[in-house]
């Protein structure tokens, strides 16, 4: 066992992998060239359209022990991964790894295949029943959670080898041009699959909307796609994107949003050229609403909005408050409609979004990001991976990536959720290191990390209660009491990998 710089105990190795402890956000250096996928040749007249998923799996050369890629753009409406694994099992293959960009509750259909040994490991964050069962020892499948940028990096560096990528393609032609903004399962963009298309040995586009050549606008081009398969349905459209994403009406959420917007206003970053990202949660959108009002009032034109894009950001683009949107994942129908027709609404790969080891990713250009949290500790470390009972339930997503990149990383959270203190002595799991978080905003006050301490007097003058993180914790504990520690066994069921491949934390099996 050794400790990383966050004080977390890590084994030297885990399941044959040597673990590199997290040290700091920026010093880990890559070595060597990036990996390459095999060169191929497709001649005039060659056919890429295959008759079934089974044919495609056979053509891909997938064998026991290999790893498949997928994306989570269809979110909890996704039927692709379940269909693919079902066919893999029917072909008698075993010991397959899943390297999707996220696994959702809908994928609990995979549980029997995990039990039978068809699926042997998962290389992404997991939500829902699978993660709960793994955390409580009812299911044995190792899980490595990665950030969105970290997934791209891992594939680029060869840490994550995807043998066959199955890319859900909302619209596709027979030659493999994938268009994500059209079709019954339109999800806007497929930003998480670009790295699969670049690095997987074989890329299969799976579509329920096969159109005459050429399909466009092109998300992933024909040059990277080996085979095309048509199936009946990629997913349940009602669960793929939200019809609308809404701003919270909860007074506590609105109070938090007001404080967060004041931090942004006084940070000095809110000026022409301002760049901005928020999550799609109601409170994050309320921050965006406040910032939008400030931009209108002060006649500020921002440069870009980034990340998962909502209709809210589309409205800001169309109103001229932002010059462009970088979209890695479209969250609602408005975003899907916009990306297909507005050239200033740009599809962005996860690599371009957040990979720390390319020649410069978009998060490095962010002025401000507003993030959520399950728990926050007194060192500003944030947990987004595990629940209050210690079970894994979630992907790090772009959390750690944007926190590292943005000049001002704000975490917004209610101080108490269902009797539990959100600011506490220790978080269950460190997903995002505190040294990359600049401000914690709760309805009880704002805690500033070292970089922005100087804002305190101005914030107080504007009626924002600025407190030390210790004062904030004490105030909250005064209401909730200190939580009893969760008991874990020594068994490590998952890793929390930072964007540079070092390990911020491990996930242990919950006792009981």
């Amino acid at each position: 066992m050794s400790k990383n710089s966050l004080g977390r105990e890590l084994p030297e190795t885990w399941r044959g992998r040597t673990l590199r402890p997290y040290r700091d956000p920026f010093s880990a250096q890559p070595e060597g060239p990036r990996v390459a996928r095999p060169i191929r040749r497709v001649n005039p007249g060659d056919n890429k359209l295959l008759g079934s998923l089974r044919e495609a799996i056979e053509a891909s050369g997938l064998r026991d022990g290999m790893t498949i890629g997928a994306h989570h753009h269809l979110r909890n409406g996704d039927l692709v991964l379940n269909s693919v694994v079902k066919e893999i099992a029917a072909l008698g293959l075993r010991d397959i790894g899943i390297a999707s960009s996220s696994v959702h509750p809908v994928h609990e259909a995979l549980i029997p295949y995990i039990r039978d040994g068809v699926i042997s490991h998962i290389e992404c964050g997991v939500n829902g029943q699978i993660s709960r069962m793994v955390s409580t020892g009812q299911l044995d499948v190792p899980i490595i959670t990665r950030t969105h940028g970290g997934r791209g990096r891992a594939m680029m560096c060869g840490d994550l080898k995807v043998d066959v990528a199955f890319v859900g393609a909302p619209t596709c032609d027979e030659y493999g041009n994938i268009c994500a903004s059209k079709g019954p399962s339109a999800c806007g963009v497929v930003g998480y699959s670009h790295s699969d298309a670049d690095y997987a040995d074989c890329v299969i586009a799976i579509t329920d909307n096969l159109v005459p050549y050429p399909a466009f606008p092109i998300s992933i081009p024909q040059t990277k796609v080996d085979y095309v398969v048509k199936i009946d349905s990629l997913g349940n459209p009602a669960k793929i994107v939200s019809t609308t994403t809404r701003i919270t009406t909860d007074p506590i959420g609105l109070q938090i949003a007001k404080y967060a917007a004041t931090v942004i206003e006084l940070s000095g970053l809110l000026r022409n050229g301002f760049s901005f990202q928020t999550g799609a949660g109601g409170a994050s959108l309320a921050v965006a609403a406040n910032v939008r009002d400030l931009m209108r009032k002060q006649a500020i034109t921002g440069s870009f909005g980034a990340g998962g894009i909502t209709g809210y950001f589309v409205e800001m683009l169309e109103e001229g408050l932002l010059e462009a949107l970088f979209d890695v994942q479209s969250f609602d129908l408005k975003a899907v409609a916009s990306v297909g027709r507005n050239p200033a609404h740009i599809e962005m790969s996860a690599d371009m979004y957040a990979n720390p080891f390319n020649a410069g990713c978009v998060v490095n250009r962010l002025d401000c990001v507003v993030l959520g949290a399950r728990e926050i500790d007194v060192n500003f470390n944030v947990n987004v991976n595990t629940e209050s009972d210690g079970t894994l339930n979630g992907n790090t997503g772009g959390h750690a990536d944007t926190a590292a990149g943005a000049k001002l990383a704000i975490v917004v959270a209610p101080s108490i959720r269902a009797r539990l203190p959100i600011v506490r002595d220790e978080v269950t799991t460190i997903s995002t290191p505190g040294e990359t978080i600049d401000a914690i905003v709760t309805e009880r006050g704002v805690a500033l990390n070292s970089k922005y301490q100087a804002l305190a007097p101005d914030l107080r003058r504007r009626g924002v209660p600025v407190k030390s993180i210790i004062e904030l914790r004490d105030e909250i504990y005064g209401i909730t009491g200190a939580p009893r520690p969760i008991e874990f066994t020594d068994k490590i069921v998952g890793l929390v990998e930072y964007r540079d491949g070092t390990i911020t934390d491990v996930i242990r099996q919950v006792k009981g």
């Binding site: 109070q255 003058r461 009626g463």
Partner: protein, 308 residues
């Protein structure tokens, strides 16, 4: 004489809901009123008293005035309300259905008894009373002068319209007379006037219009049922830049006069009397709460040793 304390926003919080009570320190209203009356069903009166008492006892870092709306004097509950709540030391009591000056005198006597029993200063517990009926409006001039503890009168349009057997349109033309009468009585008695709640929390536009209306009429504040209404109300009540400028000049003048040891204050050759000072202080407190001025206002320096 009108005290300069800001009472723009008086937010009701149900006394039987711990999840709401715990947020009282967070809401940016000038006053919170824990409600033991209409918001609390009969079967939960005792639990609400205990919860509210515990909350008030633990709320040591007071950042706003805290009142408790007790049940009416015509109910069997108000004595237990007082007995449970007053030992926790709220700033005062909001008395509902105050239709006659005798109601105020009765509650005043009871508060004095409690103050003697608790060993605290007589007059410590303030009263904001609500006028809720036609008879109450007709008596309002006497009611406004019935107790030294009375810092404000509130108007309750819901009960008033029920009493008059009329609807309550959102436009408010049917409330012109009671509002004006209550306001004049308050001004004549030197206390503050608080307007009725706006019941439709989802209609923020309508709420804003009503706030603008009551600001023109001259109300000092408004009772609120939803925290989302606070910012809108404060925004409407925000002083204009020229009002702030004038208030700053008044405060400078009075500071200067105090430094020179003279009680006579003049600005630009004109005498400044106490109500003008009080108004200037309120303008600056309001401006400061909205971050429009930096000036710290020490009420005692400017205004002498006023309480209330």
């Amino acid at each position: 004489m009108l005290h300069p304390r800001l009472r723009r926003s008086l937010l009701y919080v149900p006394g039987n809901m711990p999840s709401m009570l715990q947020n009282i320190p967070i809401f940016p209203s000038d006053v919170c009123i824990i409600d033991l009356e209409d918001a609390v069903p009969r079967t939960e009166k005792d639990a609400a008293r205990l919860l509210s008492r515990r909350f008030i006892e633990g709320y040591t870092q007071r950042n706003k005035e805290l009142y408790v709306r007790i049940n009416g004097l015509d109910t069997p509950y108000f004595r237990d309300d007082l007995a449970q709540i007053l030992p926790a030391m709220p700033d005062g009591i909001r008395l509902p259905k105050c239709e006659h000056p005798s109601h105020l005198r009765r509650i005043d006597d009871l508060l004095t008894e409690f103050e003697e029993y608790l060993g605290c200063e007589i007059g410590r517990f303030k009263i904001i009373a609500s006028v809720e009926s036609a008879q109450g409006i007709l008596n309002v001039n006497e009611t406004a002068r019935a107790s030294e503890r009375l810092v404000a009168l509130g108007f309750s349009a819901e009960d008033y319209t029920a009493n008059l057997q009329i609807d309550r349109p959102k436009t408010g033309e049917h409330l012109v007379v009671p509002r004006q009468l209550l306001l004049m009585a308050c001004r004549a008695a030197g206390i503050q006037a608080i307007d009725t709640v706006w019941a439709d929390a989802s209609d923020q536009e309508g709420f804003r219009r009503e706030c603008e209306h009551i600001k023109v009429l001259g109300f000092d504040g408004k009772s609120l049922i939803n925290p989302r209404q606070i910012d809108v109300l404060h925004d409407v009540m925000a002083p204009k830049p020229e009002e702030i400028d004038y208030a700053l000049q008044v405060v400078d003048a009075i500071r200067g006069a105090r430094e020179q040891g003279t009680g006579v204050v003049s600005l630009g050759g004109k005498m400044i009397d106490a109500p003008v000072v009080a108004r200037a202080v309120r303008v600056l407190l309001s401006a400061k709460s909205l971050g429009l001025v930096d000036t710290d206002i020490d009420e005692r320096v400017i205004y002498g040793d006023a309480d209330a």
